[in-house]
Each structure stands twice: as structure tokens, then as C-alpha cells.
Symmetry: C2
Subunit: 185 residues, 2 copies
């Protein structure tokens, strides 16, 4: 299973980015988590460009089309989503492979709810499938953990592993299709 | 009075951008409305860049510092703010001249409320002063009016002029300072 991880922060020391890198390291062999590094290179969304996509957007689309699920972690800026994560989603609004894509929304600062609420509203409007069991809250703000610290922290590592397992189950369920049919003789 | 107008859409045929250009044409001589053209050139917000601002951000900051008020018009994308307008605001979060700046939020599609609500929440969190009397709703979605059409449409032109007059009053009130003091003899 391939998971594409998107961080809504471009800050080098971002705890959301660190959380996603920790998830990539903690993932079991059956789950490949790739942290997308190109969100900062996306141009600001412009519908006029959709007919002839800029190369960074085309690369982003290819990654989204090629993954089984998305893992999103994004901070809250001024009681709102970050421009970076919303811009990335704006480029996916009319992108057909995104529809019904399973998405887990991690929340590293559970006391903040505006951005989390807004992100979920947008994802639902875009017909993504939010996997609630995989959308865990982990109180990392103020915990002073970097990627290494998260991997080494038993409770944090457990929460990340649980989120990935739940995301895996949701993807498997989605791929399993309908059960066998038993026509009457 | 100088008003800086920000459109949350980069689309050439954007009704929000047309609305702001119409406002610039309808403004009386005492109000100068300048539509900012550089939002699409702003890099995605990165706190690591704040110590040495990229030139497009420095130019944006200078425009914001030099205006008396802001006029914002932005569409709703997938039940959320546009990445473009939120990214612009992200660059203003810790910019001191933005604090207590009078802002009018125009809404060209009153049936949509998610983006309008989120924009107001963010502006309040950033300590802007939302001028309610100037934050008018004008049902332009589906009205098929371009900039010329808006300028020529009596009801639309009246709404725009009323918004500008209210914004002017709010700025004058802000600049007037306290009334005279009457010390007892």
C-alpha cells in the first residue's frame, strides 16, 4: 500500500512534517509512506492553468493518482488552514483520481480546531473519504519532540502505528469489492 | 484615502477581481482604490523566510503598510477559503502594520458562507478591524456581469459606492482620535 503524506507547513523544523517523517519510518513493510516534498513548489492555484498544467502540479497529480491513501498533517495559522495545504487541495478539486481517496487527517495540536474542522469540510466537499479511525490527535505542540524523538516516544509511536494500521484496513476494505454472489440454482 | 484591494482568485475572468476593478472605477476622488496584482507572485508562506523576505513579499508588505484600509473579495473553493487569499494573509500574520487595519470583506456569492466565515475568523484573529457596514454582499454569481457591466449596473454600482463610503467613514473615525478635552477651570 502506498501512502502519500502531505505537510501543510514549509518550516524546516515543522512538527507536522516531522510527524509525517516519523510515520514513514514507523510504517510496517506492507505500507510505504512517502512524504511529498513539492508542496512549496506548487504555483498558486489558477483555474486558467488547468488546461496546460505547470510541471510541479503535474508531478503532484501523478503522486496523488499513484497512491492508495493520503496522510495529511497541517498546522493552524490564525484560526485557519495554512495557505500551503489549501493551495495543494485547490489543485485537486477537479482531479478525478482524488475522488473517494481515503484520507487520514492527523492533528498535532488538538486544542486548535478551526483548521482541522475547515480541512475536513473541504475534504468532504471534494468527495474524499476521511478515515476517522486513522485520523488521530497527538498532542505534540509544546512536547519538544523532533522526528527522532517521535519515533522513540512509545505513546507517539503507538498512535502513529495505530493510524497507519487503520488506514491500511480502510484501503483493503475499499479494494476488496463486493462479496461473492450466490445465484440460486 | 488609499485602499488596497485583494482578490482571492487568479482567474482572468474572476468576478471577484472584476468587482474590485469596478470599485476602483466607481470610487470618488477622495478614495484611491488600487487592485494589487501581485498575490499570484507571492511564494507559499514559510516562516523560515521571514528574516529575509522574498522581494514579492516585501512589495506586498509595503503596499499594506502604505494603505489606509483593505478591500477583500474572494471566492469559495470546496467550502473553504482559496489558497491564494489565505497565503497572502499568512504573510501578514506577524506584520505589525496590519494590526487594527480596517478591512471590508465583499461577498459576491452570498449563498456561500464557509469561506466568508473562515476569512472573517482569520482576520479577527489577526486583529484586523472588520468594517461591517462596508462588508456588503452582492449576488453576482450567475449574473454574468463583467467589470463594465458592474459599473453600468445601478444596483451593483450603488452597493459598491455604499461600501466605499462606509469604509471611508471608518477610516476617518479611526484617524480622528479622541475629541477635545475640556479641563475644568
Amino acid at each position: 500500500m502506498k501512502v502519500l503524506a502531505l505537510s501543510g507547513s514549509l518550516r524546516a523544523a515543522s512538527i507536522n512534517s516531522a510527524l509525517l517523517r516519523a510515520a514513514a519510518r514507523l510504517a510496517p513493510p506492507k505500507i510505504e509512506v512517502g512524504v511529498f516534498r513539492g508542496l512549496g513548489a506548487l504555483p498558486l492555484f489558477n483555474p486558467d492553468l488547468e488546461a496546460d498544467l505547470p510541471p510541479p502540479v503535474a508531478a503532484f497529480h501523478a503522486e496523488v493518482a499513484g497512491c492508495d491513501a493520503l496522510l495529511v498533517a497541517s498546522p493552524e495559522y490564525a484560526h485557519g488552514v495554512t495557505g500551503t495545504i489549501k493551495n495543494a487541495l485547490d489543485w485537486l478539486v477537479s482531479f478525478e483520481p482524488f475522488i473517494e481517496k481515503p484520507v487520514a487527517v492527523l492533528n498535532a495540536s488538538p486544542r486548535a480546531h478551526h483548521a482541522d474542522d475547515a480541512l475536513r469540510e473541504t475534504l468532504k466537499t471534494m468527495s474524499a473519504v476521511i478515515v476517522e479511525e486513522a485520523s488521530v490527535s497527538i498532542s505534540l505542540l509544546g512536547a519538544h519532540l523532533d522526528e527522532e524523538g517521535m519515533v522513540a516516544h512509545p505513546a507517539v509511536a503507538r498512535a502513529i502505528r495505530a493510524a497507519l494500521a487503520a488506514l491500511h484496513d480502510a484501503v483493503m476494505l475499499r479494494h476488496s469489492g463486493p462479496g461473492p454472489s450466490f445465484p440460486l440454482p
